[in-house]
Each structure stands twice: as C-alpha cells, then as structure tokens.
Symmetry: C2
Subunit: 620 residues, 2 copies
C-alpha cells in the first residue's frame, strides 16, 4: 500500500491538485496560489481550507523523499514551495483565501474559517520536508508564519485569546518545537490548548464582533469543535471526529513534552471513552454524518456511519502518540486496527480512487433514494471537492515506518509487523533490524538483528491481543515462556550480528461480537483474522446480504483469492429463502445452505460495485 501511495497516489494527487484529472472534482488548490501571487486573475475557489490539501501533499512528499529519493518529484515540490514563498505576505501571513478574498478580515472568524488549521498543515509539511530533504525553505516559511501567529495570539492583553475552530496547529507546533527547540513554539501550542473552552467563549465573542445574530448552526453548539469545556474537564469524545483526534494528539504531545500528568490522564479518559464506547470495529470514528462526528455511547449504526477516512487516520496518530508515553499494546492494537481497516479502506487497491466515508454496511441501491444515506457513495471516487482524506492517507502511509517502531536509549519496541529495514542507534551502537513478513496475511515475522558489534539491548515485540498462541524463537531457540510487559515480549540479551527472531502469530478466524449495548449488532458477528476485519460483498455472496446467516458451528477456512490476491475466508452459510411476494407473513422461513466468502474490509469495492456487510447475522 505504501508503495502504491508513492508510485501512484502522490503523482495522481499532484494532477488532481492542478485540476488535471478528467472527470474528477476540481481542486483549484494550485490555481488559488497563482491567483494570490497575481500570476492569474480570478477569485479563490474551493473550500476556504483548500491550501491544506497542498500542505498534506507536500508532507507526504517529504516522507517519501526520506526513504525514496526522487529528483523530479523533489523539483516539483520545490517549485510549489517557491510559489508558497511568494504567496507569503511581508508580515509572514500565508493563506490564499484571505489574501485573495478578504485581506482585511484575517483572524475574524476562527470558529469556521480554518486559518490556523491551514497553518498547522503548513508546519507539518515543513517539518516533514526538512526532515526528508534537509531543505529549510519551507521550514523558514513556516517559522515566519508562526512568528506572526505568535504575535497575534497569546496571553498579553493586546493579543487575541482565540484558538482554532479546527484543531491541527497545536500538534504541528509541538512537532516544530521538536525541530527548533524554540520554547515559543511549544508555548503557543499550550496556549491554544488551554484557552479552548474557557468562558466567556471566544467564538461567541468573535461572533458578536462580526455582528452575527443567528445561533451557531450546530445543534450541540461548541461540542462540535470540542470547545464546549476546557479540555482538561472533558471526559467524553464529542463533536467532529477529526477535530477531536487532532486535539487529543496535541494533548498527548504537550503532556509528553511538559511532563503534564494531569493532561495525560485526560487523554487516557478520552481514550477509554472512544475505544470502549464509540469506535467501530474497523477503527472508524463518527457515527453520524451531521457534524461528521460522535453521537453517544454505543451508538454505532453500520449503514449511516460517517467513519471518515481522516478520523481513522487521526486515531492512528493519537494511538501512536499514546504509545510513545506508555508502551502498552492497547494503543498499538487500536492503531493497527484503524490502520488496516478504517484507513486502508479509504483508497482503492490501485491507489487512485477514494472513500471519504467508510460505513460498515452499504446498501448500494439506497444511496440515491434515502437522504440519510446520501453521504455514502456506492464506489470510491476520483477526487472530492473537500479532499481532506486522500492526502491524509498519503502522508500516513509514506511515514508508516515511524509508526512501526519506538526507539529508546537501550530499548527498541516493535509495534507493527511490516516488511521493513530500520537503522537506529542503541547504547551508542548502530543497529540494523530487518523485518521479513507477509503480515497481515500471514502471522510469520522474521527479524534479523545486525548490530555493528555484539551489544546488549532490549527488544520488545508486541503480541497483538487477538493472538492466542504466539510462538517466538530467538537465534533458533524456541522460547518456552513468554515474558510479556504490557503486551510486549521482552527479549533482553546481547545481540550478535545476524541473530534472528522468529515470531509466529497464529491467525485463526475469529467471530467477533459487539457489546450488547451496540443495538445494531445484536445477534451478529464480524469476522476477523489477524488485524483484518472481513466483510461480505454482493460480488461473492449475491444481493441482500442481511439474508445470509453464519451458523455458529460453520467451519471457516482461508484461501487465496486469485483476483484480490490476498487470503479470503470461505465456508458454508445459510441464506433465508425469498419465495414470497408478501410483505408480511406468518410461515416460518426456510434457510438454505450457500457458500459464503468474506474479503478483507479494506479491499472491498475493488471489483464490481454492490452491497457490503461487516456484521453478519448469526445462526446459533
């Protein structure tokens, strides 16, 4: 998938951002910059946050160049960066919408207008591009903009006490701080986090200044942007799911940098709420289209789910950050769940079609006829007017190596099983570690450890919670007893060049059930194998998938699918016969045996479009 992103998705997205994909929704993102510098005339088009799509693309390019140098791609990126340098105003301000359309209205509507959000993505791109190429141009642009922002916002009486309507800059500022070590960068992030939700409410004051008289559109008011309460008083995940994820990320980052235990406890409280009450089995977040957000505990409808790709990406970001503070597999398990299911489902196998929303049940014929399904698309799209998701997948997958490992002074943690090579220093000694695996399709993982000289250090390897019988052998010797710390087996030894660790994570087919308070899933099971959630597709099982029942005793086996080129689950199920024209009747309906086949959720809709179903009716 990462390779598809590098070879197909990054070039494709560049075409999309330049409005050169026939039939796709236009982006206007590059065009807006050209208008801003006067090379073209016209108005800003697209969303007010259109710049951020460019930044996320640049961020992905930065990651990609770090591992796969590409002179032509780098030249393209440098040209875009030069253009951005010219869009930047003398005082450091940078935003194509305001520069073109309302230069005198800067910072007058933080609630809705995404200036700080775009700035955040600029910063993240700058950090990634600097780390990937060593070039400072974009980093300098970002720092100048941050200097400007830090002059406008802050605790001084002359400064605005605002914070972004869509969180993002907070986490970006911490990333910037980690490069610059400039305390101002960290302080600004803390300021934004701590101002949030104070009363009198900044967004309210700001709205009054604008002369707004109508109430805020969103039914639950400031919950939408998690500004209903000071963040330290929050204990339930509410509102827009992506905003929530980005905010929680920043909270962990700040807690970590400032050793703020109180703030980290808030993060843990919110984490528990999300993963035990408000998360789909795919790691998808956001139960409803309205507000693109959370609704209430255990409310996880499958067909009208919003489950925006960006929210699953955000959950990966958050889990990864929690893991850096507490190496505990509960975070890595969720990170992996979101990654392999809710995130990957957002892109086609070919890398050039995208889902914005990822429900767990798609009734393709309804998307046109039921208004409460109108956000659901029966097939992945070429591009979106609001194209936040595709570049989010791109930046995550191009930097996926950062999520696989954590490196300490004398310890290396392996969180994800991905074929990869890692070069690190442990106890001052260079160590190269290679992973060879077909995971997640197969549970065998081989690590080859190559320190430049024999060296003692701790290798912690996650045993995923779905795995009942892990087997580990080190240097050819099978371990009898697995000594696990928070779900990680600890291998503490002196490592010699060429030492191998063999890990076999048995991947049985699991029937997963949901908490009985998830009403929609009562009497249903989802199939999971390893970290992959499976689903039924009309292509394999015919239409009307809710009529397919999985007997509790049915034997399920794994086989390779020649078209999808990955393991699928097959077995014999039952299908309720449909031999009546009557709408209601009292006869007992017959169920007849039918072959069933389940494919990985992330791979659905890569053949003919049709129905899809994750939670299957169970026959006891």
């Amino acid at each position: 998938r990462a390779e598809v992103v590098r070879t197909r998705m990054i070039p494709y997205q560049w075409e999309a951002l330049n409005d050169r994909v026939p039939g796709a929704a236009p982006s206007y993102a590059v065009e807006n910059l050209r208008i801003a510098v006067g090379e073209k005339s016209g108005k800003h088009r697209g969303f007010i946050f259109q710049d951020s799509d460019l930044y996320k693309w640049l961020e992905a390019v930065g990651y990609s160049l770090a591992t796969h140098p590409d002179a032509e791609l780098e030249r393209t990126a440098d040209e875009l960066i030069d253009l951005l340098a010219r869009v930047q105003q003398p005082d450091g301000y940078l935003n194509s919408y305001y520069t073109i359309m309302e230069p005198d209205k800067r910072w007058t509507n933080l609630r809705d207008n995404h200036e700080l959000y775009c700035a955040g993505h600029l910063i993240e791109a700058a950090v990634a591009y600097y780390e990937g190429t060593g070039k400072r141009t974009l980093l300098d642009i970002a720092c100048r903009f941050v200097d400007h922002i830090a002059s406008v916002f802050g605790p001084e009486p002359t400064q605005k006490k605002g914070y972004p309507g869509h969180q993002e800059i907070e986490l970006a500022l911490v990333r910037l701080y980690r490069i610059t070590q400039d305390p101002k960068h960290l302080e600004l992030a803390e300021f934004f986090i701590d101002e949030r939700g104070k009363t009198p409410h900044y967004f309210q004051l700001e709205a009054e200044k604008r002369g707004e008289t109508h109430p805020y559109w969103y039914k639950w008011g400031f919950e939408y942007s998690q500004s209903h309460l000071p963040v330290r008083e929050q204990d339930t995940a509410v509102g827009h799911a992506v905003r929530a994820m980005y905010m929680y990320c920043a909270m962990v980052d700040i807690a970590r940098e400032t050793n703020d235990q109180e703030l980290f406890q808030v993060c843990k409280r919110l984490w528990d709420n999300v993963v035990t009450k408000r998360m789909y089995i795919t790691g998808g977040l956001g139960s409803q289209e309205f507000g693109e957000g959370f609704s209430t505990d255990y409310d996880l409808p499958n067909d009208t789910a919003y489950t925006e790709t960006c929210a699953a990406v955000g959950l990966v970001f958050w889990a990864h950050r929690m893991l850096q503070v507490e190496p505990d597999r509960q975070y890595a398990d969720i990170m992996e769940r979101a990654l392999y299911n809710g995130v990957l489902s957002g892109m086609s196998l070919s890398g050039d079609k995208f889902f914005y929303v990822n429900p767990l049940q798609v009734w393709s014929h309804l998307t046109e006829r039921r208004h409460d399904h109108h956000h659901v698309r029966p097939s992945r799209q070429d591009w979106f007017g609001c194209a936040c998701c595709p570049p989010n997948i791109a930046r995550l997958l191009t930097s996926i190596g950062q999520y696989g490992y954590s490196v300490g002074e004398d310890s290396l943690y392996v969180h994800l099983f991905i074929e990869s090579t890692l070069n690190v220093k442990l106890q001052g000694v260079k160590v190269k570690i290679s992973q060879t695996t077909k995971y997640p399709f197969d549970g065998k993982v081989t690590f080859t450890v190559e320190p430049e000289k024999a060296q003692h250090f701790n290798l912690f390897i996650r045993i995923p919670s779905w795995c009942q019988n892990p087997q580990v052998s080190v240097a050819g010797k099978s371990l009898e007893k697995l000594d696990a710390v928070q779900g990680y087996i600890q291998l503490s030894r002196t490592w010699h060049p060429g030492d191998q660790v063999e890990l076999v994570l048995s991947m049985s087919i699991e029937r997963v059930r949901a908490n009985p308070l998830v009403r929609e899933n009562m009497g249903k099971v989802a199939l999971q194998r390893g970290p992959l959630v499976y689903c039924l597709e009309e292509e394999d099982c015919g239409p009307n998938l809710p009529a397919v029942f999985l007997p509790r005793e049915a034997e399920l086996t794994v086989e390779d699918d020649p078209v999808l080129k990955m393991p699928v689950i097959v077995g014999e199920g039952l299908r309720q016969e449909n031999n009546t024209d009557r709408l209601y009747f009292t006869d007992i309906p017959k169920k007849v045996p039918v072959p069933i086949k389940a494919v990985p959720y992330f791979a659905w809709n890569n053949r003919r479009p049709g129905e899809m179903l994750v939670w299957i009716n169970e026959k006891e």
Copy 2:
C-alpha cells in the same frame, strides 16, 4: 377512542387552536382569522396552511354532531363559521395568509403555498357540517370559493392549468359533487388530477414567472408532490406520503364517479406497490423524514421511520375508497391495520397528547443525540407548530362509522367490528343492525338484525385474513361451511326482527415475519393478535430491547393489564447478558431467561417514557 375524541380531543383542540393550552406550541389559527377581518392587528403567524387545522376541526365537529348533538359545541362551531364568512372575500376567495400578507400574490405559488389544499379542507368541513347539522352556511361559503376557483383554473385558454402542490381539494370536490350533484365540481376534480404531471411542468413555469432561479429544494424534484408523471402513468408510490394518499383517494373517487376503469387500474397498481413493498406492519407510511415520504421498495427502517400519523389516516381513507369500488377484504384488512396501529398510536389514551411520527423502534436516548432521529419524539406532545395530525385523527374517529359498513341496494357489508348501531334501508325496508363486541381485544362479535318487517337481503361480513378459524352462527345455528366472497361470508336469507349473528374470530398470537428484502427485520418477528400489532416497552422489559430474544418455541399467553386495561402478551424470553465493559470480544455471550411482556403498539408510551420495539430478535 372515538368517545375520547368527542369528549376530550375536540374540546382540547379548540383550546389549542385558540392558543389557550399552556406550554403547547401556539397555533395562531383563530387569531389569523381575527386579523384577516380586522378585529386584531398583526401579521399572519404559523404555517401558510394554518387555516386547514380549523377546517379539519370543523369537519370533526360535523361528524360528532351527526351522532352526538351538542348545542354548545354547535354554537362554538357556528361562531367560527360566521368568522370564516367574514374572512371570505367578495369574489369568494378565502385564505387568511394571502388576505393578510400578500393579497396580490394569490395563486402564484401552487407548488408550495397550499391555497388549494386549504380550500379542500374547507370543502370537506362544509360537507361534514352540512351532513351533521343540516346547516348550509359553511357549504355556501365553500361553494362560493369553488366557483371562484373554477373561474381561475380550467381548460379555457384564459384559465390557469395549475393544480395543488399538496393534493386534497380533488377528493374534497368529489365529496362536494356528491352533495351538490353539480357536474362542475366533479369536472374541476378531474381537471386537477389530469393536469398533474403534464409537461411543460406547471410548477416549473410558475417558478420561472416568480423569477426563481435556484432549483427546487427537493432532491427528487417533482416526485415529492407526485407530479413527476401524469397520474395515469404512475405505478410506484413516491414522494410525500400524505400527498400521495390524498391523491390516490381522489383517483378512486373519480374512477368510481365516472366509471373510469383505466384510472382504477392505476389505483390498484399503486395499491399493490404500497401494501406489498412500502408499508410498515403498522400501516405506517413514509420511510424517511426527508420529504416525509417514501424511499424505495422494501426500505422500511424501524428507528428513523417517518410514518406520519396523517399518512396512516390517509391510508385508511384510500383503503375505504378502494373497498367501495371492490368489496374485497384485502382493502379492509389494510384499513383495519392502519386504523388500529399507525393511526391510533398518534394519540395518547387520554386523548390530549399526540405523535406526529410513529417509528417502530424508539431509542429514547438517541432522539437528542442523533440528528437523523431528531424528528422522533420520546413522548407524545401537547401540540405541534405543524398540527396536521391531531385534527386528522379527530375527523377520522368521529366518522368511523362510515368506515365500518357499506350499504348497497340489497346488501350490507360489515368491514369493521366496532360496537355500534346502524340504521339503513335495504330493499326499501328500514333495518337496524347492532354490533356488540369487545373487538379488537376479543374476537366475539354479536350482530342483532332488526328489520321493521321480515325482509330478504344479503349480509356480508368480513373474515379478516389473520383469522384462521372463524365461527359463525345465524339465529342460533352454527354454519358448517362458510361461503366467502372476496373474504366476506355471505349470509343471504330472509331476516326477521331479532335475528342474531354470532361471529367468533379466534385471536391467536401470531409471530409475523417480514419479506427478507426488508433488511432491518431479518431474523426478527413482530407479535400480532387480531388486528393489533404489539411492541415491547422499556417499562416492562427494561432498557436495551434489542437484547431481548424471543425463542421460536416460547409459549405466549394473553393476560389483562391492570394499568393499560387491555390484553397484553406475556411469556418467557431470553436476554443477552451484559457483563462486559469491552466493546468487541470473541466469547460466546450468554442468554438468560427473562419474562417478557408486549403491549399493543397503539398504547405504547402511555406510562413512563422509554424505549420501544416492534420487531423482536428471534431465537430459533
């Protein structure tokens, strides 16, 4: 229920229409009339169709006075009628909104502004009040208005070719014609029906004349008002469900009056579509809030259902009309289903609280947190800003006798089993027929036939399709073989004063299943006994009703409920244990025996508010 309407609901609604119910949404309906005649100053308030609430109330009063003379109520009604006479303009026009607000804009927006709809309700009120009291004042007002309408609309080149955005006047004009025998009244109804859906589209031309440039708000365009096609070309029920019902009623009426077989075939086609693919088991219609209407075949979600009370009332109207053309129990069965379930659920047992929407599953804690449930109220309301439903129940139940019987030259059809006395003439002989019954709670019905002298005629009595073993005895003699014609047993004999017919309709508890294409109901059963659909309530079965399973073999019995004072269904079910904090798990959940109790759907939410569920998970 009819008695509650007469004694409680009619007086209560008069208070509501006069804005005298503390805490209830104001109506402004009477106030608007006072403003229109200059007795008060101010603007028209409430919906543009607010007058129609008054008309529907007057119609109900007309029916009520026919069977229960009430001098005070009649005086109140007469005063309102006098006020309406003064609101009527010299040219016959009558509409408080246009008279107060836009007197020069009459008939410029038929699509949205309900002038013809209100006129229709005025006509229906006039007919009912004339029939109930013999007084012509309101009838004359209506006829003058119709004269005016007939001058504005019609086939002549100078006349408008429009038709109502909300159907209603068409069926009203046929009712008026049956009183007046004025062919102009029938012709105008035919004109409205036959113009509908022609191209170029009248609503489009009209919108252009108004200078409207934006497209019509409704996603599926003219389907909303069933004007997407000429009515004779329609074969699926689409759009706003109440509009559809009123139109289908008029189509049957016109087909009957003009012996138009083609038009009746269209009605039968639409009937089949509705009752075999688009109707809830309660007789509720309208699968979605958006457009308050139909979506597509077999799309019958239980929780987000719109199922407006008015639509179920409309289905009763339509079924009743189909029955007058073809005495076939398929129509009466549906009429009864809608009446005892989808209609009666719209009012509280006390008669002064109302549901506008009637879903089949209410998750009370979701109505506030899920936007796609925001139309669902956890409890019946005192009144509504748009208060179409309460007066619709009132006018149906006050005239329920008209739905119970059909009378021919030498035949009497009994469609409904309701304690009642009927006085008719058959073959020129006065016949009094009394029904004694506790139906629908008990299946025993006794008819006492009292012709003024011995007379031969046919008595047709419906055997509901849910009844497997009907027993009939005539004058004490049990019938061995029941000779049924289209579901009606035919008793052809010479009737003597005092002859009794005893009917016993065995009411077993039925587990009803839905067509497997109704995805939400897969693996579920609904309980029905006689014509009553039952449901579970949190009050009896605790919260999280989807965790309750009904074993296929569970024995269910009927007992009287001391609070609801009606038969309820009790038995032993199973409840899936909830002993985990985990959101997803692989253990097989336990089910433990629990007593279950189901109450008639129409009677739900008359105790403490809470969850409700019609379709129960079945354990095979």
